[in-house]
Subunit: 209 residues, 2 copies
DNA sequence: TAAAGTGTAGGTGAAAACCCTCAATTTCTA
DNA sequence: TAGAAATTGAGGGTTTTCACCTACACTTTA
């Protein structure tokens, strides 16, 4: 598990990456350089925190193309585009696709660093949310099919006897499942359970009666 | 209460607004035209659904200035910027500030209408969320201070006896407040209550013991 | 001043949830 | 194939919630 954030720089211009990595490292951040988008794609691990400084125009895979591939991989790494050309439609397109910033050359060092900081903060909270979500999903995966049904009943506020009649099983069995659900989801009260289910995308089908 | 969405057009170019409103009305949407940003600001009601087609450059208040003022009013009306000039930093700035699109002239009618539709869909779901939120807030406002404290206890999964000892009141009083809370919030079960509180921004201070 | 609302607290009893143990059947897996 | 997990069910107990009821002091409002 990596701790430190890495600022990935993907740009085919050797002088540019040199300059960028110098600026980045001057404030104590780690930089990792790629001169081709594909090289980055080959090496990047989705669970590595950081952000991506991405040139728009490059031989081979372009910046926007890389963005598309990362989206397809559902990698949430924040992307800061860097462009020397004033292409408004392109800038708007990549921003709509989720880029966190779009800088035009030449830009101030301070502007760059501010943008990187924003991206890293964004990445951090995104990862924290994903972390929580993954933990909830992991617990949820422990439940047997029957337990999931009972869980849904509980979360939609049904009493055990209602659940038992809907599932055509005995009240005692529902109680058993219910206790098992609380244990596996590691919660001690119904409100905690509801929160866990609601705040993490676990869908609730609200089985109607 | 207004039912139909209105596409507001704010642009100082008479020929442009003429053309825009023609396109908009050709697909059965209502258009409302302003040649000055201030005129729009004077007349717009925040609870009117719709979207805003906004020129960037105008004499008097500019498009981005109007966006800033709307943000300050926490008006969530989606804004589609229209610009004839390729100013990338400006486009990026307004997109980061929440604009839903940024079109550069000349643009295809189809592109415009697609963007308007997206904006209207966005506005619709935003308003639905705000609606739910407002209803929950309204119910929440009915609660007395003591009832709010008890509500927080319930939502954080505390038993009545725990709440009673924390608030230094009798168990019986907590029960009374609890019943009152359920009634005023018009829910029948604790899970429903938790959902209502969680999904609508009602903060829960998790009163620590 | 009277009525309404709030906060307090008690009683009774039913219903529900929670806790434990035990055990039979089936189904999955090492 | 044997053991583990899932599903089912039951007995018997405690604890908690819930639904009624009553009551009184205090504040705000009509």
């Amino acid at each position: 598990m990596s701790i430190d954030a890495i600022v990935y720089v993907v740009d085919d211009d050797a002088a540019m990456v040199e300059s960028l990595s110098w600026i980045i490292e001057s404030v104590g951040l780690k930089a990792k350089i790629f001169t081709q988008a594909q090289d980055f794609l080959d090496e990047y691990k989705p669970d590595q925190p950081g952000c991506l400084l991405l040139d728009v125009r490059m031989p081979g895979m372009s910046g926007p193309e890389l963005q598309t591939k990362l989206l397809a991989l559902s990698a949430t790494l924040p992307i800061i585009f860097i462009s020397g050309h004033g292409d408004v439609p392109l800038a708007v397109r990549v921003m709509k696709a989720g880029a966190i910033d779009f800088l035009t050359k030449p830009f101030n060092d301070q502007v760059l660093l501010e943008s990187i900081n924003r991206a890293l903060r964004f990445d951090k909270i995104t990862r924290e949310k994903q972390q929580e979500n993954a933990q909830a999903e992991a617990k949820f995966a422990l439940l047997s099919p029957r337990e999931v049904q009972v869980l849904q009943g509980i979360v939609s506020g049904k009493q055990n006897k209602v659940i038992s009649s809907e599932l055509m099983i005995s009240l005692k069995t529902v109680e058993a499942h219910r206790a098992s659900v609380m244990k596996k989801m590691s919660v001690r009260s119904v409100p905690e359970l509801v929160k866990l289910v609601l705040t993490n995308g676990v869908q609730e089908h609200a089985t109607q009666d």
